[in-house]
């Protein structure tokens, strides 16, 4: 069988290597960007081909080669209903990000190469069926993102990049500890995720200890209150496309890990700990919403709503861990996986749009912007659509996901579900406030325009529509017809033991 998964994972890396080699003979920024867009487009097509080839509930399209057989570590890739949607959203977001970035002139080749390398690492995490391979890709995402923030971020980028790197590396070391525990207790010892999932090796206090280590690792990545503090600084300082990938893809690594490793490999320990995880998740979701409410910087606002939305995902996974009926579990997990996709698409679009606003007005402070809807109507309406999606309006991407999460949680912990719904109200409020402040209201009569240059104040350009348009289309498509993804998701979720 043609190794389509390997192709999908390593095509971007091949592109990055090509760029690095070609840069020796000199490349214009235009060519670099063109190569980047073409390669990420091909990767997207390759991911779609994976989808078309058919994904079962079990891991399918498996590709494996022995790597370190003495340790039971191998190169193993495979896809199931949980990883497929994440692979799709990853390829879509990288494609959109590279289109959006096409204006970057400063060290463009290195920028595109880093993005492509990062794409390989992200896809690798989602498609790995081996814990060592998983960890390898996991760590490489850190390095890639560090250099993107440090190299092309805003004024305090060095510090933000460092905070991000140290924080998340601190988080990935307990992950290593958890992986080692899963390995050493296995019989026979193996890093094969399928074998570990089929027969979770840990029990008793070791399982609790391992789950605690894993949870810390994933909580930092997701991020969950109180270990979310790296997120706002990283987002504020990151370049726009970096923020898109950070929020759209890298945060998903945390929830994916919590689901794949936490829930599937230490199920008993997770069940015991589920109420505590749920409490933290509820606090995190509400905290994210309320802190977002207090922001005046649009980018920080979107960043904090991520804490809110990812809190819902964590809550859904915790509810699934504790669920006693297959119905609740299915709702919670279907919703959680779909929420990861929706959040990737919608938040990706929001960060792009905030980036566009900043490019035009030179600021992200809501108080200093007003009347954008009148001046740049297409940008304005795009933002309003994405914001409505983000606050969970029915018919848009977040609604079917959050609805199912709440439904599943309600079956397990009615009180938690009732409390966390407050988050929806708060997000609705904060987005309406943002729209009112920045997009409605009177347009300042050209006073600002002269200073910042009217030429920059056009409506969405062709490039910008190319980047954000597909994301908005997908936002509506998922909202109206979530079944296209839920089918695949549900087939896998349905097979999980209760």
């Amino acid at each position: 069988m043609f190794p389509l998964l390997t192709l999908t994972v390593f095509l971007p890396l091949a592109g990055a290597i090509l760029l690095v080699i070609a840069s020796q003979i000199g490349l214009s920024p235009r060519t670099s960007h063109a190569i980047g867009i073409i390669i990420s487009g091909l990767t997207l097509i390759s991911a779609l081909a994976v989808w078309l080839r058919g994904v079962d509930g079990e891991f399918s399209q498996i590709e494996q080669v022995e790597w370190i057989p003495s340790l039971g570590a191998g190169y193993r890739l495979g896809v199931d209903g949980i990883s497929l949607p994440l692979v799709l959203v990853t390829t879509v977001l990288f494609f959109a990000s590279l289109i959006f970035s096409a204006e970057i002139r400063e060290r463009a080749t290195a920028y595109v190469a880093l993005f492509l390398a990062l794409e390989t690492a992200c896809l690798g995490v989602f498609l790995s069926l081996d814990l060592v391979l998983f960890y390898v890709f996991w760590e490489v995402t850190l390095v890639g993102m560090y250099f993107i923030i440090a190299g092309w971020g805003h004024e305090h980028r060095q510090r933000a990049a460092l905070t991000f790197f140290i924080y998340t590396l601190l988080g990935s070391l307990p992950l290593l500890l958890g992986i080692l525990a899963l390995y050493l207790e296995g019989d026979p010892r193996t890093f094969d995720m399928r074998a570990i999932i089929a027969d979770p090796p840990l029990s008793g206090s070791i399982a609790t200890f391992a789950f605690a280590a894993l949870f810390i690792a994933f909580a930092i990545k997701i991020p969950i209150f109180p270990v979310h503090t790296w997120l706002p600084t990283a987002h504020v300082e990151a370049p726009t496309a970096g923020s898109v990938i950070l929020a759209g893809v890298l945060l998903k690594l945390g929830t994916y890990g919590l689901l794949r490793i936490g829930l599937q490999m230490t199920p008993d320990a997770f069940r015991d700990a589920a109420p505590y995880v749920a409490i933290i998740a509820v606090i995190s979701a509400l905290y994210g919403a309320f802190i977002a409410l207090a922001q005046s910087d649009l980018k920080r606002l979107v960043a904090y709503t991520s804490v809110n939305h990812m809190g819902y995902v964590a809550l859904g996974i915790a509810a699934a861990a504790a669920a006693t009926s297959a119905g609740d579990r299915d709702f919670a997990l279907d919703g959680a996986v779909l929420q990861m996709v929706s959040h990737g698409i919608v938040t990706g679009a929001l960060f792009l749009l905030v980036g566009m606003v900043q490019e035009r007005t030179g600021t992200r402070e809501m108080g200093e912007i007003s009347g954008l809807l009148g001046r740049v109507p297409r940008l304005g309406w795009a933002f309003i659509l994405a914001a409505f999606a983000s606050l969970g309006l029915p018919g848009l991407a977040h609604f079917p996901a959050e609805f199912q999460i709440f439904l599943g949680t309600f079956g397990v912990w009615p009180v938690a579900a009732a409390i966390v719904v407050i988050g929806i109200v708060v997000t609705a409020g904060l987005y309406l406030r943002a729209i009112q402040a920045a997009f409605l209201g009177p347009s300042p009569d050209g006073s600002n325009d002269d200073a910042s240059g009217t030429s920059r104040f056009g409506d969405l350009s062709f490039r910008e529509i190319g980047a954000v348009g597909p994301l908005l289309v997908l936002t509506v498509a998922i909202g109206v017809y979530p079944t296209m993804l839920l089918d695949a998701i549900h087939r896998t979720i349905d097979l999980l033991p209760v």
Partner: protein
């Protein structure tokens, strides 16, 4: 007897190489000495390969031919050959150039002997042979700094050597034999057991620059040529660590509770090395303290000896990775200079390739996958947990985070805008560049191809 000689062909080849280099130097042909050293050492490493699979002793049980000693040769000898090449830009054209190459071979011989020691006398011999050559290498520039550094190194070596021999006499007295395999007889004689153990740890801990026996290391590294620092931080250290492993394998726990002692030493060395490295502004000293911390990581495998299947694999894989990444890091420092400030902007515009290589070496020292240092640490932590020392693995992991701060202090300025005249770049040399490239390949290769090592050690 002829069987014994057949099994120590690599050792014989090293000594012949050293003598050939010396003869070439007497003929005033330093270039010939260099070629003899590189070719001879690589040949000795190749001659080791047919011996893999042997697990025996020679000369009445006094010298061991096993996985540890064989892998020590395969790691130490190429590392020595590469160090010789790294020396070229610093000593070319100087008086006595050829002696350096000869001394490298002698130190390598001493280190190899340590790694295969099956007898107390071989431990002493190995320490002495590898020390004597090292002192001279540090003192080679003959200026005040180098002389002071070598003096410090020498005084420390003499004192710790004496203490080691003093401690070892207790073992000899208690067991009536100098053989390590006779240490079983220490059973119940706690005082003698502890005295000897302390002696060994002081003597070999000094060679391996394990804290708290490390005081000489930063000065000696910084005083001598950069290549000497690279060499001393790799070859004698790996020899000494493997020597400790040979001793501890034979030492019954009923005599002394050695794993706990080693575990404490490991925790102290890792933590101290990283904390001290955190405040250095001189890159050689930073790498010196980092190598003290790395010595602590090595000890994790020794704690797990015979309690985990991963023990020898962890030692060997980490040693190989350590040799590659440390050599590479020193090669870049040799090019860019010792001052941390000099690294500003190196990766950004001045020398992106050198910068990228340095990033790979430093991240590998941290233990970021898929680099060699990662597989090594994975095995070390796995071995420690497997042996029941989870707390030690946790200390190791916390130290990894700490070490990240150390190495980021080098990486971050490399990607900040340069001040202008940071690195002259005129000290570029083919020798250094080729060592850098080779080290990158090895660091990556060990990370991805660790199976090659593991097939023989598990």
């Amino acid at each position: 007897m002829s069987r014994d000689l057949g099994l120590i062909i690599p050792e014989i080849a090293i000594v012949i190489t050293a003598v050939l280099a010396l003869v070439a130097e007497m003929l005033r042909r330093p270039r010939l000495a260099l070629i003899a050293t590189v070719v001879g050492l690589l040949a000795a490493a190749l001659l080791t390969i047919p011996l893999f699979g042997e697990d025996t002793t020679v000369f009445l049980g006094t010298y061991r031919i096993d996985d540890l000693s064989l892998w020590a040769k395969v790691i130490i000898l190429p590392a020595t050959a590469l160090s010789a090449i790294l020396f070229i830009p610093e000593i070319r054209g100087t008086d006595r150039e050829g002696t350096v190459y000869s001394l490298l071979s002698f130190v390598a011989a001493g280190s190899v002997i340590l790694a295969g020691a099956g007898d107390i006398m071989f431990i002493v011999l190995g320490v002495l042979i590898s020390s004597l050559g090292s002192f001279v290498l540090v003192a080679y520039p003959r200026d005040d700094r180098a002389t002071e550094a070598a003096m410090k190194y020498f005084v420390f070596g003499s004192v710790t050597g004496a203490m080691m021999i003093f401690g070892l006499t207790y073992w000899f007295g208690a067991t009536g034999s100098t053989l390590l395999s006779e240490l079983d007889r220490l059973d119940g004689r706690e005082l003698a057991g502890i005295a000897g153990l302390l002696g060994v740890l002081i003597g070999l801990g000094y060679k391996a620059s394990i804290a708290p026996f490390h005081f000489w290391a930063p000065d000696a590294y910084d005083g001598g040529p950069v290549a000497a620092a690279a060499f001393i931080s790799i070859v004698p250290k790996i020899g000494a660590i493997f020597g400790i492993a040979q001793v501890m394998r034979s030492l019954p726990e009923s005599a002394v509770e050695w794993p706990l002692l080693i575990a404490l030493l490991a925790a102290f060395s890792m933590t101290f090395g990283n904390l001290a490295a955190l405040v250095q502004t001189n890159l050689i000293r930073l790498l010196a303290y980092s190598s003290i911390a790395q010595a602590g990581y090595f000890l994790l495998a020794i704690v797990a000896l015979d309690r985990s299947d991963l023990d020898i694999s962890a030692l060997v894989v980490f040693a190989a990775a350590y040799a590659a990444m440390n050599l590479g890091a020193f090669a870049v420092v040799g090019w860019a200079g010792r001052d941390l400030e000099g690294f500003r902007g190196v990766g950004r515009t001045l020398a992106p390739w050198h910068g990228a290589a340095m990033v790979i070496f430093l991240l590998s020292l941290v233990g970021v996958p898929p680099l060699g240092g990662f597989v090594g640490k994975l095995l070390l932590f796995g071995a420690a947990i497997d042996a029941g020392y989870t707390w030690l693995a946790v200390v190791g992991i916390l130290n990894t985070v700490l070490s990240l701060a150390v190495y980021l202090r080098v990486i971050v300025p490399m990607y900040q805008p340069a001040d202008g005249d940071a690195v002259s770049g005129e000290s570029r040399s083919i020798a250094r560049t080729s060592i850098t490239v080779l080290s990158v390949l090895l660091t990556l290769g060990i990370g991805i191809g660790a199976q090659v090592i593991l097939t023989t050690t598990i």
